[in-house]
C-alpha cells in the first residue's frame, strides 16, 4: 500500500514528537475485530482527517483514544508518555477532548453551565455563577460566539450548540480536539465559521482530529488523512498528495468479483432498456425533497428495473429512500405511482401500494428481535391484512417454511427468536418479510452491510431474480461493485443532492468514484477517463470533468 510517511509538512511536523501516537491497536468485540493492529498518530498544530466508510473503525479508534473502549493490544502514547485511560474524564484531564456528532450537551441548562460544568468555579463552597459566566464568556469569544452565557442552550440552533461544545472542549486545556462529524448539521456559512475556529486553534498548537463525510470539507481543512477500512489501516497520506478519486477508492476498496455470472445477466437485462422509456415509470418522483434532509430530487423507476443509489454515507441516499416510501414526509415535490399521484404520509400508505423500504438499521428499524422468525416474516403481510384476518396457521407455516428454504435462512426453525440469528440471517428474515407482501417497488438500504460474503452473494442473486420477474428495486449500497453488478441504472447522490442518473452501460467503479468524489454531471461523466493529477487537488475533479452546476456547491473561497 502507498503508505506515505509524512516526511515533511508545512510545519515540519516530523521533527516534533507526535502528541498522539497509537500503534498496533487491536480491539475485538464478540465475533468481530473492530480494529486490527491499527497505527495512528497526530502532531501538534495539524488537522488530521480520519476517513472510512461505515464500520471502518473510525469511531472505535476515537473511543480507544478517549478511553471509552479498552484496547486488547497495542500502545497509546500521548505526548510521548504511555497512557491507558479508563474513561473520558481521564482522557480530558490529559488534554484530549471530543465533540461528538450528536451534540452531547444539556439543552436544559445554560450555555455557561454547559461549558463549565464538572469544573465550575467555586466560592464559599458553592458554584460562583458570576465567575462562571465571566469565564464562559471568554471561551465563547474564542469561538467567535456572541451569545448570552446565561441563555438556555436549547434555545440556540444546533450550529451554535456545536460551537458551545467546542468552547467546552478547548477549555479543558485541549492538546487534542476530536471533532466527530461536526459539520453534519451546519450550513455553508456555519461550516466556514467553524473552519476559522479550527484554523485559530491549530495556530495555538492544538491537534485536531476531524471526521466528516463531506470530501470538500476534508480537503479544505485537513493537512493529513488516515484511511481505515474494515478495521484495518489502509494508509496515512498528506491531503495535498492524494487525489479524491484515490481517496474514495481507498475508503471503499475493491471487492473480489464473486458473481461474474450475475454480472452478465444484469448487463443483458439492461440492454432492453430503450423500450422502457416509452412506458410510464412505476414510480416517478418530481422535485421530491425535505427541508434539512435532501434537496429536491427527480427520480424514476421502471417496472423490473434495478436502480442503484450510490454515494457516500451521509450523501442523502437513505433520506431519498425514506421519502420514496413514506417513512419520512416530503415537504416539496410530488410522487406518482403508475402514473397516478400518490402521497405517502406513513409507511403503511406506501405498503398499500406495494412500495417497501427495508431500512439500513436492521436492529432498530428492521427486525423485531424478540419475536420468532415466523412472526417476523409474517408481520408486514399481517399488518396489511389487518388484525381481524389472521393468516391461517397452516399458511403461516408454509410461508415461513418457503422463505426459510428459498432464502436459506439458518437456523431453519421458524420458532427461533430473531435476536439469536446472525446478521446475514436477520437480513434474510427481513427480506422475507417484505417479499411476503409481493412488493412492486423494493427499496433496499444497505442490505448487505455487515454480513458475510456467502449471504451477500445470495442476497444479490435474489435481487437480480426479483427484477427479472418484474419487481422494481432501488438498491443502496456503499459497495460500488455491488451497485454496478445489480443495477440497470445508477443514481448518484452527493452532499444531499442527486448529481447523476445514468444507465449502467460501460460504467466502471472508476467512473462512479469520480462522480461520487467530484459530483460531475451525468452526460459527461461516462466519457470521462479517470481524472488526471492536477496542481490543486480540490480543483482536479471540476476542471477535468465538468463545470460546477450550482454556485452554492462551490467551496467558498
Amino acid at each position: 500500500m502507498t503508505t506515505v510517511p509524512s516526511t515533511q509538512s508545512t510545519q515540519q511536523v516530523s521533527t516534533m514528537t507526535p502528541v498522539v501516537d497509537m500503534s498496533a491497536i487491536t480491539i475485538t468485540f464478540p465475533g468481530v475485530k473492530a480494529l486490527d493492529s491499527v497505527d495512528f498518530r497526530m502532531y501538534p498544530g495539524e488537522v488530521h482527517s480520519l476517513m472510512g466508510e461505515n464500520g471502518a473503525g473510525k469511531s472505535t479508534l476515537i473511543k480507544a483514544l478517549t478511553g471509552v473502549y479498552q484496547i486488547d493490544s497495542g500502545t497509546i502514547l500521548v505526548a510521548g508518555e504511555s497512557v491507558s485511560f479508563s474513561g473520558t474524564a481521564q482522557a480530558q484531564a490529559a488534554g484530549i477532548s471530543t465533540v461528538y456528532q450528536e451534540v452531547n450537551l444539556l439543552t436544559n441548562l445554560s450555555v455557561a453551565e454547559n461549558i463549565m460544568l464538572g469544573r465550575e468555579p467555586r466560592r464559599f463552597g458553592g458554584i460562583d455563577w458570576r465567575a462562571m459566566r465571566r469565564r464562559s464568556a471568554e471561551l465563547l469569544t474564542r469561538v467567535n460566539l456572541d451569545i448570552d452565557p446565561g441563555s438556555l442552550l436549547g434555545s440556540h440552533s444546533l450550529a451554535v450548540q456545536q460551537l458551545v461544545a467546542i468552547a467546552r472542549a478547548i477549555d479543558i486545556n485541549a492538546r487534542v480536539l476530536i471533532l466527530d462529524e461536526p459539520t453534519s448539521s451546519l450550513d455553508v456559512d456555519e461550516v466556514q465559521e467553524l473552519f476559522r475556529i479550527i484554523q485559530s486553534l491549530k495556530e495555538d498548537g492544538v491537534a485536531i482530529l476531524f471526521v466528516s463525510h463531506f470530501l470538500d470539507q476534508v480537503y479544505e481543512i485537513s493537512d493529513r488523512l488516515t484511511v481505515l477500512r474494515n478495521g484495518k489501516l489502509v494508509g496515512e497520506y498528506r491531503t495535498e498528495e492524494i487525489l479524491r478519486i484515490e481517496l474514495v477508492q481507498k475508503m471503499i476498496g475493491k471487492e473480489l468479483t464473486i458473481l461474474d455470472d450475475l454480472e452478465q445477466r444484469t448487463k443483458s437485462a439492461a440492454s432492453g432498456e430503450d423500450e422502457e422509456d416509452a412506458e410510464t415509470p412505476f414510480v416517478l418522483a418530481t422535485g421530491l425533497g425535505r427541508k434539512g434532509s435532501i434537496e429536491p430530487v427527480d427520480l424514476r423507476v421502471y417496472e423490473g428495473e434495478v436502480v442503484g443509489l450510490a454515494g457516500l454515507l451521509g450523501s442523502g441516499r437513505t433520506e431519498l429512500a425514506r421519502l420514496l416510501a413514506g417513512v419520512d414526509r416530503s415537504d416539496t415535490g410530488e410522487l406518482q405511482v403508475t402514473g397516478k399521484p400518490a402521497r405517502f404520509r406513513t409507511p403503511r400508505q406506501a405498503l398499500r401500494q406495494r412500495v417497501v423500504y427495508s431500512s439500513e438499521n436492521r436492529r432498530t428499524e428492521g427486525i423485531v428481535d424478540e419475536l420468532s422468525i415466523r412472526d417476523n416474516i409474517a408481520l408486514a403481510l399481517q399488518a396489511d391484512r389487518g388484525w381481524f384476518r389472521p393468516i391461517p396457521k397452516r399458511r403461516l407455516d408454509e410461508l415461513a417454511e418457503s422463505y426459510i428454504t428459498a432464502l436459506n435462512i439458518r437456523p431453519a426453525n421458524p420458532d427461533a427468536l430473531v435476536k439469536n440469528l446472525s446478521g446475514g440471517n436477520q437480513q434474510k428474515v427481513l427480506l422475507a418479510r417484505w417479499l411476503a407482501i409481493a412488493p412492486r417497488l423494493l427499496i433496499l438500504d444497505e442490505p448487505t452491510r455487515g454480513i458475510d460474503v456467502g449471504a451477500k452473494a445470495e442476497i444479490q442473486k435474489l435481487v437480480a431474480n426479483l427484477a427479472d420477474n418484474g419487481m422494481s428495486v432501488v438498491y443502496i449500497s456503499a459497495e460500488l461493485e455491488e451497485v454496478l453488478r445489480l443495477s440497470h441504472r445508477i443514481a448518484v447522490m452527493r452532499d444531499r443532492r442527486l448529481v447523476a442518473d445514468l444507465p449502467n452501460e460501460g460504467l466502471t467503479t472508476d467512473n462512479l468514484l469520480a462522480i461520487i468524489a467530484d459530483g460531475s454531471q451525468e452526460d459527461q461523466a461516462i466519457e470521462v477517463p479517470a481524472p488526471q493529477r492536477d496542481d490543486t487537488v480540490r480543483d482536479a475533479g471540476r476542471t477535468t470533468l465538468t463545470p460546477p452546476t450550482t454556485p452554492d456547491q462551490e467551496p467558498t473561497r
Binding site: 432498530t364 423485531v368 428481535d369 424478540e370 419475536l371 396489511d384 388484525w387 418479510r433
Partner: protein
C-alpha cells in the same frame, strides 16, 4: 436447566410453595365442599377474592406488553361502581333485572369512554403512559365522589348482588367472569393478529411502523380494553360490598394488577406477554394474602410480604442478576469442561 430457564418457573414455584405452606398449616386447605350445588372451600375463596385483580391484570398485561402502564384502573373501578349503584338506587325497583342490566351497561360504557381518553392522551398526544394515566388516577376518584355525592351508596338489589356473590354452574359468578375475560383476551389476541401487533409494537415501535402496523389505534384499543376490565372488576367489588365507596373501591388495585403482571413474567419494558403467567401472578398474590391469614400472621402485615415479593421478583428479573447467573453458569460449565478434559 431448561425448566429453570422458563420464565414461569419462579412464579409457579412460588405458588406451589405458598399452597404447601397452607396445607401444612391447615390440613383441610384443599378440601372442597358442595353446598346447595355450590362449591365452597379455601381454594374457591382464593379464586373469588382474587378475581377483580385477575380481571384488571388481564387488561394490564396487554397495556404493559405495548410498553405502557395504566395507573387509572382503580379510579375507573370506583367510577363504574358509582355509576351502577346510583342508577340502581335511582330506579323505582332495584330488584328488577332490567334495571341492573341498564346500570351495568351504562357503567361499562362510561368506563370505555375513560379508556378512550387514556388512549387519546397516550397514542395521539404522545404523553408517557405513566403520566397520562396519572391524570385520571387523580381526578377519577373525585368524579366517582361526584356521582355518589360523597356518600357511600349502599344498595339492596338481588340481581346486582348476584354479580359479586352469586353462583353460576356451581362456581362463584366473579370467578366465571374472570375466566371468561381471561379466555376471551387470550382468544382475541392469540387467534387474531392482535397479539402479534401488540408484541411487535412493544418490542420495536419503529420497526412495526415501517411494517405498516397501525400502532395508534392499537394503543387506544388496548387502553379501552383495560378500562373495560376495570369497569367489570369495579362492578364485582361494588356488588360484593353491596355498596359503592368512591374512596376505597379498587384502592391500590392498579398496583396489585401491575404486580401480578410482573410476577407472571411479562416485562415492564414491553414485548412478549403471557396471560397465563398473569393468572399465576394474580393467584400468587391472592394466595399470599390468604396464607398470611391462615398462618396466623396479622393480616395487616400482608403489604410487607408483598413488598418482599415485588423486590424478589424484580431482582430476579433484573438484567444484572441474569448476567450474574449467566457468568456463574459459564464459569461452572467451564470448570466442568476442564474436569472432563482433565479426566
Amino acid at each position: 436447566m431448561n425448566l429453570l430457564a422458563n420464565r414461569l418457573f419462579w412464579p409457579i414455584a412460588m405458588l406451589v410453595a405458598l399452597l404447601l405452606v397452607n396445607l401444612i398449616a391447615f390440613p383441610g386447605f384443599f378440601a372442597l365442599q358442595v353446598r346447595d350445588g355450590h362449591l365452597f372451600g379455601s381454594l374457591i375463596d382464593i379464586l373469588r377474592n382474587g378475581s377483580p385483580t385477575m380481571i384488571i391484570a388481564v387488561g394490564m398485561t396487554l397495556v404493559i406488553a405495548t410498553r405502557g402502564i395504566d395507573l387509572s384502573v382503580g379510579a375507573v373501578c370506583a367510577i363504574s361502581g358509582a355509576v351502577a349503584c346510583s342508577i340502581i338506587l335511582g330506579a323505582p325497583d332495584p330488584d328488577n333485572v332490567g334495571t341492573v342490566v341498564v346500570a351495568v351497561v351504562v357503567a361499562v360504557l362510561v368506563s370505555l369512554v375513560l379508556g378512550v381518553w387514556n388512549g387519546f392522551l397516550i397514542a395521539v398526544l404522545g404523553i408517557q403512559p405513566i403520566i397520562g394515566t396519572l391524570i385520571l388516577m387523580t381526578a377519577g376518584r373525585g368524579v366517582a365522589m361526584l356521582i355518589t355525592e360523597g356518600q357511600i351508596l349502599t344498595i339492596r338489589s338481588d340481581p346486582f348482588k348476584w354479580l359479586g356473590s352469586g353462583f353460576f354452574l356451581g362456581l362463584p359468578v366473579s370467578v366465571v367472569i374472570a375466566a371468561v375475560i381471561l379466555v376471551l383476551a387470550a382468544v382475541i389476541t392469540r387467534r387474531t393478529a392482535l397479539g402479534l401487533f401488540i408484541e411487535s409494537v412493544g418490542i420495536n415501535p419503529e420497526a412495526s411502523r415501517l411494517a405498516g402496523v397501525r400502532s395508534k389505534s392499537l394503543l387506544i384499543g388496548v387502553y379501552v380494553f383495560t378500562a373495560f376490565c376495570a369497569a367489570i372488576a369495579g362492578l364485582i367489588m361494588t356488588s360484593n360490598q353491596t355498596s359503592a365507596d368512591a374512596n376505597n373501591t379498587g384502592l391500590f388495585i392498579e398496583l396489585d394488577a401491575i404486580l401480578a403482571v410482573v410476577i407472571g413474567g411479562t416485562s415492564l419494558a414491553g414485548g412478549r406477554y403471557s396471560l397465563f403467567g398473569t393468572l399465576i401472578g394474580a393467584l400468587v398474590i391472592q394466595t399470599l394474602v390468604t396464607t398470611v391469614y391462615t398462618v396466623g400472621i396479622s393480616p395487616i402485615a400482608t403489604m410487607v410480604f408483598k413488598a418482599a415479593v415485588v423486590t424478589a421478583v424484580c431482582l430476579l428479573q433484573s438484567p444484572r442478576t441474569s448476567q450474574a447467573i449467566a457468568n456463574w453458569r459459564r464459569r461452572s460449565s467451564r470448570s466442568t469442561k476442564q474436569e472432563v478434559v482433565a479426566s
